[in-house]
Symmetry: D2
């Protein structure tokens, strides 16, 4: 696509969902550094998410995390969001932060713990009904730390049972997205360690079960864009949790560690027909040392830049070189798009959308940070597990 008008039109349709927890404090096992102006309530997280949308124009949804975003009235929370110009997106279940889950949640050897975990998942679907959310994101920290600790296969049986029960509960317009992760917090075996495991479970259950790709959850050397292309071919890609990593699940800003990889992923998304709202483009990051709202804005911009470059790939020239077996020629067409500086195009697009061409500068000038820093001095800052 070399028609920049068409590229801009496509970019206007892109929606990037930000996670409520990115606005709270986060850290590593060594330390959670607290920052100023951090929200104390789900409502304040939504306020912050609305700022990201305000300055980027492409982040109209915010994902919730239960119980971190527990409220009395979820319908009211959805209205609160709508009043601030955003909507509630995916509901993220959390079955890893209760002492009962030390040896697992839905795969725990103890049936009582399994039942408790399943009930939480079903509660999350109730919340989706109230918020009008389409997607339930399922990530299980379940696994074992020591060889022999539990029966790997039996845990799959328990997992399948729980997933089937959740699937059964989903409404017609609802889906669950099953996340996989190589390791952490389980250090020997993880019950959903790779896309193949997630895919196999989802395939058995049906179209409302889809795989979600967290870009930080793979073994070193994994070709993530291959997985994206494969899942799209199978109709089993439900969405992304975007972030970036140099080592493990570092949860850095998406595009910060390997912007070329992000471009390659977006290329496969576009090639595979995944550039639609069927695929949820979500961020899942931790801003441990950088300010949170600007961290989200930068991340949204990074996804946009990678997308713009991917849209600029000259598909005809690429296919032609590929068919001819012209290795260097095909690679050159591909790199040509990547090497293009798309920031002017995105600035233009933003102006056409009535936005400031420079979201980072506009946010900095807005005074929002100074306002929340002052308003949020008291009380308990939100954070993981808070």
């Amino acid at each position: 696509m070399t028609d920049t008008k068409a590229v801009k039109a496509a970019l206007r349709t892109q929606h990037i969902e930000t996670p409520s927890w990115a606005y709270g404090n986060s850290g590593t096992r060594f330390k959670v550094f607290s920052q100023e102006g951090v929200p104390r309530t789900p409502q304040e997280k939504i306020d912050d998410a609305a700022q990201v949308h305000r300055f980027t124009g492409v982040a109209p949804r915010v994902a919730l995390h239960i119980p971190w975003d527990r409220v009395e009235d979820y319908a009211a929370l959805a209205t609160y969001a709508r009043d601030r110009g955003v909507r509630v997106g995916a509901i993220n279940s959390n079955v890893f932060q209760d002492n009962d889950y030390m040896l697992g949640s839905v795969t725990n050897p103890d049936p009582a713990v399994r039942k408790k975990a399943l009930n939480h998942l079903l509660d999350c679907v109730d919340i989706m009904d109230a918020t009008g959310s389409r997607d339930l994101k399922l990530w299980f920290s379940d696994g074992t730390n020591y060889p022999g600790q539990d029966d790997i296969r039996a845990r799959q049986d328990r997992l399948a049972e729980a997933l089937a029960a959740v699937y059964e509960r989903l409404g017609d317009e609802q889906r669950f997205l099953l996340e996989y992760k190589l390791f952490e917090p389980a250090f020997y075996s993880t019950d959903v360690p790779d896309w193949g495991t997630s895919y196999a479970h989802c395939l058995k259950l049906g179209p409302k079960a889809q795989v979600v790709v967290d870009t930080g959850h793979h073994a070193p050397g994994t070709n993530i864009e291959f997985i994206v292309a494969f899942l799209l071919r199978e109709g089993k890609l439900g969405g992304f949790d975007f972030n970036s990593r140099f080592y493990a699940d570092d949860d850095l800003m998406v595009g910060a560690a390997d912007p070329f990889q992000l471009f390659r992923i977006m290329h496969e998304v576009i090639q595979g027909g995944g550039f639609s709202d069927e695929i949820a483009f979500m961020l899942d990051q931790c801003h441990n040392i950088e300010p949170k709202i600007p961290g989200q804005i930068r991340s949204v911009m990074n996804v946009q830049e990678a997308t713009a470059k991917a849209l600029l790939v000259d598909g005809e020239a690429l296919r032609s070189a590929q068919q001819a077996g012209d290795v260097l020629g095909a690679n050159a067409v591909f790199m040509d798009a990547y090497n293009t500086d798309v920031r002017p195009l995105l600035a233009e697009l933003r102006e056409e959308m009535g936005l400031d061409p420079d979201p980072m500068a506009a946010y900095a000038r807005s005074g929002y940070f100074e306002k929340i820093r002052d308003e949020r001095r008291e009380g308990q800052a939100a954070g993981w597990g808070a």
Copy 2:
């Protein structure tokens, strides 16, 4: 199983298949070091494989590699093997050593190359008909070296088409085993890079398509025994290519790099009902710097030792500790079996089978090496690509 009688009975039923190519010269891209006494013909490779069976008693089959083991009359070759006390096992196809395959075989953008490759695969099934082999092993080196070089998804379409054609050709008692590998010789994308890809293709085709696990073909950190347990649960594990590695596809002797991992794999095999002839236990190694026949004997013994230890796991005690959530207790039961020295038990078993208790020493004393060293001075030693 703490009854050593039962352990020995189980061990008697284990069959480990050795690969014809392990007896020829092999090496790295830097150098193939030639050794003395290396076979020059498929028949001589079978002679050597027969020695491994003669001294271990559990290696009654030898896998062939086409075209490395090309002969005029495959039925005659099968008879030749039978006369030496072994049988022809799996047929390994090779669509990576012709100049035409530079950009791929069954996934090549050029339909003429794809056709050539498919014809080779179908020829391999003809050979299976002649040799009475059950398994066709499919490993594709296909992939790309540079981003953009070819269309990842189109290559999957081509792969699916070729696999369907091979599947169609298989007889009622025949199967194919689809191998996956993270990388090498393709260095950007590989068309069957992981178990999930192999599984998805096999699942669509039916029960005669099965996944084969090469223990050296994974990303760093991959939990291989998880994959084994998962595939057994799905009924999609067809067999193993055993070897070991510290880094990549090093193809060292199985059990040499991480004997504890091999034990864990055998534990899952046994737990998952995979200790049967439905699962092909094959070696796939390169003896680059060690003598080949002793290298194979040692490898067969290493598999036996890991199997014996896995058979010794006290299943009842293990399950009981697992159910109780006793992390250290369950791990202790597991390690108890691993820490047992099973060499006396295996020596006993061999004597009961009429074998020398020490296969390595017995082979060394046999004079076979001196014989082949003298007989095989002339001619072209077999090797990869020879």
Copy 3:
């Protein structure tokens, strides 16, 4: 060494230091699961460490962590330990858990933060003076998360300056051990990421600066025993932080993930003349899901087993096979020792030392756990950062 008497004599001299923090609660960034009976004070941690020594006989020292083990009177704490049959070992500095250290401690761009961090390190030497400790363990979490965030080289200058100041302060009988770690909590660059960096700094400073090897702090595929052999050859190995890992810095019980690796490490220690009190054998683990005291006992036993096997290697036979270029022969001598079941030998040794031959069972029977579970119900359990 095939003389078991000599092996046992050597094993008697081995001292394994346990860390005070292993007795407190620990976890991942996702959750710290709390356990029963966890100590609330440095004194109670010492009580628990004394139990590990009581049942194993080879764990006579306990490492402290400042400020987690902050007390008014360190000399009194040392006396407390001695009264319970153990001694205070290494002092571990902590310059990563204060909000000031968000962008680094001794390498922070802000000189005031650097000064604060250095003062803490010097305070730790004061504590060593009081406790009579020989070793100051320095681990710096310092690094950056994003490319460009700070100047990699300037941070080395700041690091060198701090290390020189600490070196200067050390008494004649004191040393510091500089720890390296690939990543976490820094996710882009770490200021002491590998042994080479630690070695280079220590070399410049002199003999009182030594490298400490944490077995979980390497990139995938790193040959740790090579590093051990190399550092011993250079006279720059100061000690070990033992633990094990399948993925990253998992901090599992030593020997749990790869017992063969632990054996190979101990082989190099013995070969390189490192089996002496010059080398500190310390544990550094997190018992996130298993009980802490038994987790330490098991770990001590795992080190002992690996050591016993390494002592059993037939050095003469090994050297002879190595010199002859007999690859399989040399490997066989090596594996022969590894495959030996040394548990009977260790049981014998314990009985000779007046201990129960089975430390795990003896501890379980002792009633100590029931006692601390009851006594420690109130108050704040110790943990990282608590």
Copy 4:
């Protein structure tokens, strides 16, 4: 540096050395695919290298590999090169392709093999005298495949002895560059596996011994730019072997796998004062499936693009943000340079240098390929080991 004039001036001074072996056939252990027009002699390799310089203007040197480039008269070969507008660069020794080196070269347990290897290295210095080369590149494939195979420490002693002998032989203007590599072809231990090992040996010998960084020789996750910064700080960085990799030592075109990493490396080079002829910028790649001369041209251009971006980093703004602890601000300054499309600047520079702005197109139009394809049909194409 935001002054494009200064950037262009700096780029004019950059010299990128191409390796003679890149023009010959290469491949993996599975297959060496032969290409058309491949040189058959060292002279023809130099002819091809001269083309790369002709079209890029910044590749005036070609590295030789002994014995692959063995000739009778090296002075004549140097003259041959000069007559074609290029010079002979580094001499690469090869002590890995003789059957004697199966168990090592300079670290072999057999003193006769060690002597042979050392003599080859000394011969290489003779060749340097004849060609006027400054640098001897030492890469040792030496290592072991199996635990116990040889004594890790004794091999270091042998290595040190050989290096000292070579160092002694070097002339006043000569250096050696000691290369390190994690693994391959050795699969258990490698005698120079990491920068620390190379650094320690070089440090002892003196200023004529320097470390060379091959960008494909590290463990997964290694921060290469940290190593570059560290070695520059120590005055021990001698040069680069540039290439790129997704997995192991893939030897792809530099910048093809991770262009952002190449930029970060060049940033550290410039920051650390390494942008001088003291640092040898060499390519070391294998064009297994792409045409060789265009593969080299593209690689040279990729290095130039990364360098240009690194030169564009606004150093003052960067330092200021770093000092202020402005994580996002510093990262933004850094990314700003990376995201700039420097191709127009480089096209301009080439025109100013009297070159075609598009070297790839100019080479394609030149008819050189058609000429060599026709001229080189007969004879033995050069390749590894040929």
